[in-house]
Each structure stands twice: as C-alpha cells, then as structure tokens.
C-alpha cells in the first residue's frame, strides 16, 4: 500500500486549470522529488496534498485512506507533515514554541518528541529560548524540519528546502534529509528547483510541466535524461 497516492487530480483556480490529472505515489521509506520550472504546478500539487486546496476531480489517499476533502489536521494525524516553502518559521516565537506548534494536532508524547528533536538537532536545543526570526537561514531550515517531525510523521512534504540557503547549508540540509530517511525510514516528498541536487538524494522523481506530469522515473535514469537539462536551461 502506498503512503501517498494522487489519482488523476485536477485543480482549478477560477477558470484556469493548474493541474491536469496528476497522478503520483510515494511508497514507505522513499525520497521522491517533484521537479519543474516556475508555474509548473509544483506548489499547487503540494497544497493539494496538504489539504489547503481541494481538487475538482481526482482523489488523494494517505495510507490507503481517502483524504480528498479532509482538513490538514486530519491528514497530519494520518502521518503527513509539511516543511513549507521558504521555511516559514514563526519569527517572533521562541524555537521551543515553534516546535510545540508543530505538535498542535497531538496531545500525547509531545515532551518525548521534543526531546528527540533536540537530540537530532542539538543546535536547536542550545537556542530553545531564542526567537526563531533571529536564527540563520540554515538554522531556520532545521527548525522547520524539526517542527515537522514533532507530529511523528511517516511522510514529510518539503517545498524547496534549499531555496535561499548559503551553499554550505544546502549540503547539510540534504544530508540531513537523507539521514532522516535512512535512520527513521521517513518518507520524503520534496519539490526542488535544484534538480541535480535533489536527484542525488532521491529514489524517484517526477517532472511537472504546465500542470502535467511530463516525465517520471528512477532518480538515476532521470539524472541521465537530457530532458531534465532542457527542462531547466531552455524549456
């Protein structure tokens, strides 16, 4: 059974169709990346998965359950978590409050999870009382990741996790994602502009183009596809 399944999902903004019968799956323990240029429908796909947009047709399934019309909170309880685009930490809340906000949907085991996140990110433990807005970009990305982990998810959706990060952090964040995947068996669906980087840690990938899935396959195969190159340097 797939962890996440999109079954020919079509999304409209008013009259404009943003997604055309998009189908994709994420299996347990997999890193899948969603590639595509600007306005290709990546963000819309993410929002649909998170429950911020309801598709006009098609179905979304999480862990086998139909969640097409379920609110985000319900999906989070089914094991979904999100690292939003540009991190979006709550700038005027402390690091710890940011993490606790990530556990909004659960009532039990919050403290244990907090300890485990601090274990994974000792840097955050050092700064637990500091306002999130005062952290560096890389630290904020860790915080956003830690916040997502607070709901003990089985699948994390990440929207451009390396965007706007200093180069040293780009590597560190990608390593972190790979580690989490390896050590906890966490599945990851990530949107990336940075195709080669993303494919270097992903198992599989999909390429979106103007709301259609244009290409999909194993990461190695995609890496060697000339289409990937043209998708970025001349679509």
């Amino acid at each position: 059974m797939s962890l996440l399944e999109l079954d020919s999902v079509s999304v409209f903004y008013g009259q404009t169709q943003a997604l055309h019968e998009v189908s994709l799956t994420v299996e347990p323990g997999e890193i899948v990346c969603l590639l595509g240029g600007n306005a290709s429908g990546k963000s819309t796909t993410m929002k649909t998965i998170l429950g911020l947009i309801t598709p006009r047709t098609g179905e979304v399934r999480l862990a086998g359950e139909r969640v097409t019309r379920l609110a985000p909170a319900g999906r989070i309880r089914l094991g979904l978590a999100s690292v939003p685009e540009a991190r979006r930490v709550f700038p005027e809340m402390s690091v710890e409050d940011n993490l606790l906000t990530g556990a909004f949907t659960r009532r039990k085991g919050v403290r244990a999870e907090l300890a485990s996140v601090y274990d994974t990110f000792p840097r955050l433990a050092e700064r637990r009382r500091q306002h999130a807005g005062t952290l560096s970009g890389g630290e904020q990305q860790m915080l956003a990741l830690g916040r997502a982990l607070m709901s003990s998810p089985s699948l994390i959706c990440m929207d451009e996790p390396t965007m706007g990060l200093a180069p040293i952090y780009v590597d560190r964040v990608l390593d972190l994602i790979a580690d989490l995947n390896r050590e906890r068996g966490l599945a990851v669906l990530m949107v990336e502009q940075n195709a080669e980087l993303a494919l270097s840690i992903a198992h599989r990938g999909y390429v979106l183009n103007t709301g259609h899935i244009a290409l999909s396959g194993q990461a190695d195969a995609l890496l060697d596809t000339p289409a990937i190159r043209t998708a970025y340097l001349g679509a």
Partner: protein, 280 residues
C-alpha cells in the same frame, strides 16, 4: 549612450540580504535580461531600479541623471516604464482605458502647469487647473484625447486581434495572457526610454510565449531598450544582447547569452552542483 547605470545596489529585508551589491549598465537599444533561481533577488532588483523600493545603498542613474530613491511616478514620467510579475491591470477599467492611463505622462492639455508639480503648495495651482480643465472640457483637451485614443488603437494593434476586439471590455474579464498583453501595451504607450518587464510570459503556454517573443523581437528591432526578468531561458537566449545571472543577491555571471549559458557557475546555480549520490 548608457540608458541605465546601476551601481552597488543593496537592499535587505528583516536582516536577509535580498540584493547584495548589484551593478550593471544598459546601453541605448540593448536588451538585457536578468535570470537566476527563485529567491535570487531579481524582482527586488527590478523594484529598486523602478523606484517601487528604496535601496539601502547604491545608486541608480537613468539617462545620466541620479534617480536613486525617486518615486515610481517620477521615474515613469522620466521615461522608465515597467510591468509586474503577476500582471497588474486596472480591473474595472476597459482595455483601452488601461492603455490610455499609460499615456498619462504624455498629456499636456489635460494636465496644465505640470511643471509646477514638484513645488509644494504651488502644485495645487496645477491640480486645480487640471480640475478646471476636466470640468470645462475645452476643445484642446478633446483634440488631445482623440489623438491619444488613436495612439491606444495602434498600441492595441501591436497584439493583432488579441486585444482589438476586446478594447471596450473591462480588464477583469480578460484571460490571463490578455491581461499581460494589456499591461505591456500600457507600459509601452508613453514611448519609454527603458521598458522593464518582470516575467512577461509567466503563466503563458508555449504558443502564447512564442507570440510574445515575436512581439519583443519586433520591439527590439525598432530600437527599444529593454530590461527583462524572465525564467524561460529559450526566450532570454533569443532576445537578449546580454544576460545577467543573479544568485543569492549577487551577480555571478554576465555576458552574451551563449557565453553565460555555458558558464559552469550558471549551470551550478540552476541545476545545482552534481554531488555523489547519498542514496541508501
């Protein structure tokens, strides 16, 4: 002749350096494109150049004049026209009226004493004169309006039969692509010395994009100086004399399209550096 000269522009938002020391120049008749990954500071740079944002540091010279921190309306009057990333049109005005608004800096009879606009208190003479002219509607104003309306038609003609049949339709009823066209027509109407386009083909399909490319090529052939921010690399390569690549707020490469396209730093910024796979 240099139309635009940008020197050491810097701007931060909440401690994050969006534009961090950008310098470049544009010569008369040149098409210069700015490319770069999302969040690299392209749009901020454009907003700094067009007066929508004030720079923290650096200077902007337009046609030899220091225009740093000048308000956007003054820049527009001086001949710098721009479009916006998501297409900003006046929804409840007709297409023709939208373009007519673009001609505002060229109005003389309808905006008497415009020279006095920069003088405090005295600017009211100009505003009141404008009100009086609006109420009386003298022949000179009507003649001017007729002339400008003719110009609007020729601007609309630029887009073939895309806008002409919809000239009287309210802009909010237009398709996305037609809104973008209306916006470009509005920006071009006053005959600007520099046209600044922020992703003019965003959200357009390949056919529409090709059409916009043809129109921009025609503009270029007519000698229009253009500063372009665009994601569609094909269009950038076909159109530009020079390409500027931004990454994390700084210029990492600049030069003719072919050179830039094969610059390893550019490939890295866009595709990312290929790293050993860490997949399990």
């Amino acid at each position: 002749m240099t139309v635009l000269e940008v020197q050491g522009l810097r701007r931060s938002f909440a401690g994050l350096r969006a534009v961090d020391g950008v310098s470049f120049g544009i010569d008369q008749g040149e098409v210069v494109s700015v490319i770069g990954p999302n969040g690299s500071g392209k749009t901020t740079a454009l907003n700094l150049v067009s007066g929508v944002l004030r720079p923290d540091e650096g200077r902007v010279l337009f046609q030899g004049r220091d225009v740093t921190g000048l308000r956007p309306e003054r820049l527009a009057e001086a001949g710098l026209s721009r479009t916006f990333q998501n297409g900003r049109v006046f929804g409840n005005l007709s297409v023709a009226e939208n373009v007519l608004i673009g001609l505002t800096p060229t109005l003389r009879a309808a905006r008497p004493l415009a020279r006095w606009r920069d003088i405090p208190v005295l600017r009211w003479l100009s505003l009141l004169a404008e009100t009086a002219v609006a109420l009386v509607d003298p022949p000179s104003v009507r003649r001017e309006l007729a002339e400008r309306e003719a110009e609007v038609e020729s601007q609309l003609d630029r887009f073939g039969d895309r806008l002409r049949p919809r000239a009287e339709a309210a802009a909010h009823t237009l398709s996305y692509a037609n809104r973008r066209r209306t916006e470009i027509a509005r920006a071009l109407a006053s005959g600007p010395a520099l046209l600044v386009l922020d992703e003019p083909t965003a959200g357009m399909n390949p056919v529409e994009t090709a059409e916009v490319l043809e129109q921009l090529l025609a503009l270029k052939a007519a000698g229009q100086t253009i500063l372009l921010v665009e994601h569609k690399i094909d269009l950038v390569m076909r159109l530009s004399d020079r390409v500027l690549v931004l990454d994390a707020g700084t210029v990492i490469a600049s030069g003719p399209p072919d050179e830039v396209r094969n610059d390893p730093r550019v490939i890295e910024a866009y595709l990312g550096k290929r790293r050993p796979a860490v997949r399990p």
